[in-house]
Symmetry: C2
Subunit: 149 residues, 2 copies
DNA sequence: CTAGGTGCAAATTCTTTGCAGAATA
DNA sequence: TATTCTGCAAAGAATTTGCACCTAG
C-alpha cells in the first residue's frame, strides 16, 4: 500500500492512522490541488479516474484528516458545501471572483502583527483564522455592464 | 404595521419590499443582536417571545434581505448553519472561542490598505471580505489542561 | 487476530420550493 | 385589486450514522 508516495503514507502513519489506498489517494489529490475541494469534487474526480470510493468514506476521511490537522476546512459564501485543503507549510488566503467563482490563493498573510496585538489586548490565545476576499477578476470586471443594482 | 420602529419599516420599504410584521421582527431582532444569528436562532427566539413564524418564512426573509444588502451571511467553521447579521454602518470581523463558541465582534479592520494594494497588484475589484479569527478566550484558556493532542 | 476502515442504505440536518390562502399597498 | 408574503407540507442537498464485512498492522 505504501510502495509509492512515501511522504504521503508517512504523513498518514505519523498520525496513528492506518494507511489505506483511499486515504493515500485523497491526501495525494488534495496536495496536488491548487484550490480547496469539496467531498464531492474528490469523489467525482477519483471516479473519473476509475477509482470508486464511497462518498461517506470521503467524508469520514476528511473528518479524520481535519482532526489530525492534515487538512483544514473552509466555507465559501453562497456555497453550502464545505471545502477542504491540504495543510501546507505556508498558510494562505483566498480571493474569489463573484462572477466566475475562480479561486486564487494568496500567500501573503497581512494579519500576523494584528493577531499579536489582539492577543495582548484581549488576552486571547489565537489559533488560526480564515480570510476570504471577494471581488471581480480582471476578465469579469470588464464584462460587467450592470454595475447598478 | 409601521406604527413603531419607523427606521426599520422605512428600511424595508426603501427596498420595494412589503412591510410586514414578520419582516420588522426579524430585522429588528438582527439589529439588536450582538452576534450573527442562524435562521433557527431567530425562529426559536421569536417563538420564545410567543411569536410563531414559519421557519421557511425566516429563510425567505433572510434571503431577500441578503439580496437587498440589509443583512449579510457568513459561515463559521465547524457549523453547518449559515449565520446572518445586520449590515451596519461599520464593517467588522469576528473572534470565536474554540472552546465555548463565544463570538466577539471586532470593529477594527486591519485590511484596508492591504486590499488597495491587492487591487493594484492583481487588477481585481474587491467588493468585500470575511475574516474570522479562532482562538481561546481568557476563561477557556485557563481551563485548558489538555493542550496536547 | 484485532483494531480500525469501508461500502451501503438509511437517517439527519439544514435549506428550498410549490401551492393555496392571507395580507399589504 | 394586484402583487407580494406566508404557512404548510413535501422535496432537496449535504452530511452523518449503523451495521456487517473487510483489511492493515
Amino acid at each position: 500500500m505504501e510502495k509509492h508516495m512515501p511522504q504521503i503514507s508517512d504523513t498518514i502513519k505519523k498520525n496513528n492512522l492506518k494507511v489505506t489506498a483511499n486515504r493515500i489517494r485523497i491526501l495525494e489529490f488534495l496536495r496536488e490541488s491548487k484550490t480547496p475541494l469539496s467531498a464531492e469534487n474528490i469523489y467525482l474526480k477519483l471516479r473519473d479516474n476509475g477509482i470508486a470510493i464511497n462518498l461517506s468514506t470521503i467524508y469520514r476521511t476528511l473528518e479524520i484528516f481535519t482532526l489530525n490537522n492534515l487538512v483544514i476546512s473552509l466555507n465559501v459564501e453562497g456555497d453550502k458545501k464545505v471545502l477542504y485543503e491540504c495543510v501546507g507549510e505556508h498558510h494562505h488566503h483566498y480571493l474569489i471572483c463573484l462572477s466566475c467563482s475562480k479561486i486564487i490563493s494568496l500567500d501573503y498573510c497581512p494579519l500576523e502583527s494584528y493577531e499579536k496585538e489582539l492577543e495582548k489586548q484581549l488576552d486571547y490565545t489565537l489559533i488560526s483564522h480564515r480570510l476570504v476576499l471577494y471581488g471581480h477578476c480582471p476578465k469579469c470586471k470588464s464584462k460587467q455592464h450592470n454595475l447598478t443594482k
